[in-house]
Subunit: 159 residues, 2 copies
DNA sequence: TTTCATGCAAAACATTTGCAAGTCT
DNA sequence: AGACTTGCAAATGTTTTGCATGAAA
């Protein structure tokens, strides 16, 4: 994506950082996929592509991209963080399947609005938010009868 | 809290586990505080109380309590997990101050309902959910003019 | 050339685990 | 006695860091 490159270069310039071949390869790889990937996934993908960027650089660049708003981290628990690029994607929240790990995205402007209401009520200035539902995707739920029988889960939370 | 003890004993019995002095001390400590604490905090508190329960046991017991639903984990990112006891506390979500770390709890039945709607729409069986707002608490926002000036943040997300 | 970036390996963290010794039932 | 727990230390998995070398501006 061209706009990603431009934004990236602006980000680098703005912070007096340099455009290296590693950073280019990494940005391209990040914007080439439309899945949620871990730092390790990205590192592996880069190697496959012949750009062996070190793990350290993968982490450093990923952090840079997150700070610059070009990439977003999704903490799926147990210290696992998945990333996704942001440009070209509307804001959304996630459902995480506890069985197969599948990530389903969903949107709810109403929820966003209610979050703002809650924040205002507490004079809290929101910078970002994270809403995740953990459970079983439509496919895996079939394998978990207990899960399917479960009553309304809205009083339980892992928040 | 007496009910916590009872529930705990039932949990142990149900799973063929034993009631040890470490577990008793830990449960009491967990239910004695009304703050959000880390495993390390708990370990330290127990030592102060004269019950030196090992770190390994703190983790093992905490996991047991979480599985048993007596305690809830709150993943605040960067691999940090804070815990809170559940009995005697209504369900709620959290606002995490990026400056002072203060945790503010809030409730929104409307959001819960909308989450269920979204889950149903995707035939997703929710087991738990996590909604966190990251930003600045009313106190710290004053020290962060940039944060205060920020426009409606509902299009950004760390989800 | 000056500054920043990279790769490597070591370090840092938080949490988990194997195992022998100790406790609860 | 028998099964489960504990503490210790080693292991784990992930991410960060110090430092010398190499690349960009």
């Amino acid at each position: 994506m061209k706009r990603a490159r431009e934004k990236f270069q602006a980000l680098l310039k703005r912070n007096g950082l340099k455009l290296t071949k590693q950073r280019i390869a990494l940005l391209d790889a990040v914007y080439a996929t439309h899945r949620h990937f871990s730092a390790e996934d990205l590192h592996r993908d880069l190697q496959k592509l012949g750009h062996s960027v070190s793990v350290a650089t993968v982490y450093r660049s990923l952090n840079l991209l997150v700070e610059g708003g070009l990439v977003q981290g999704l903490d799926v628990g147990k210290g696992r963080v998945l990333y996704e690029h942001t440009l070209g994607h509307e804001h959304h929240d996630h459902m995480v399947c506890l069985d197969c790990g599948k990530i389903t995205e969903f949107q709810s402007p109403e929820i966003e609005e209610l979050q703002d209401v809650a924040a205002r009520a507490h004079r809290f200035v929101t910078v970002s938010h994270s809403l995740k539902l953990f459970g079983y995707c439509s496919h895996c739920a079939k394998k978990h009868p207990i899960a399917e029988e479960r009553p309304a889960p809205n009083t339980r939370s892992g928040a």
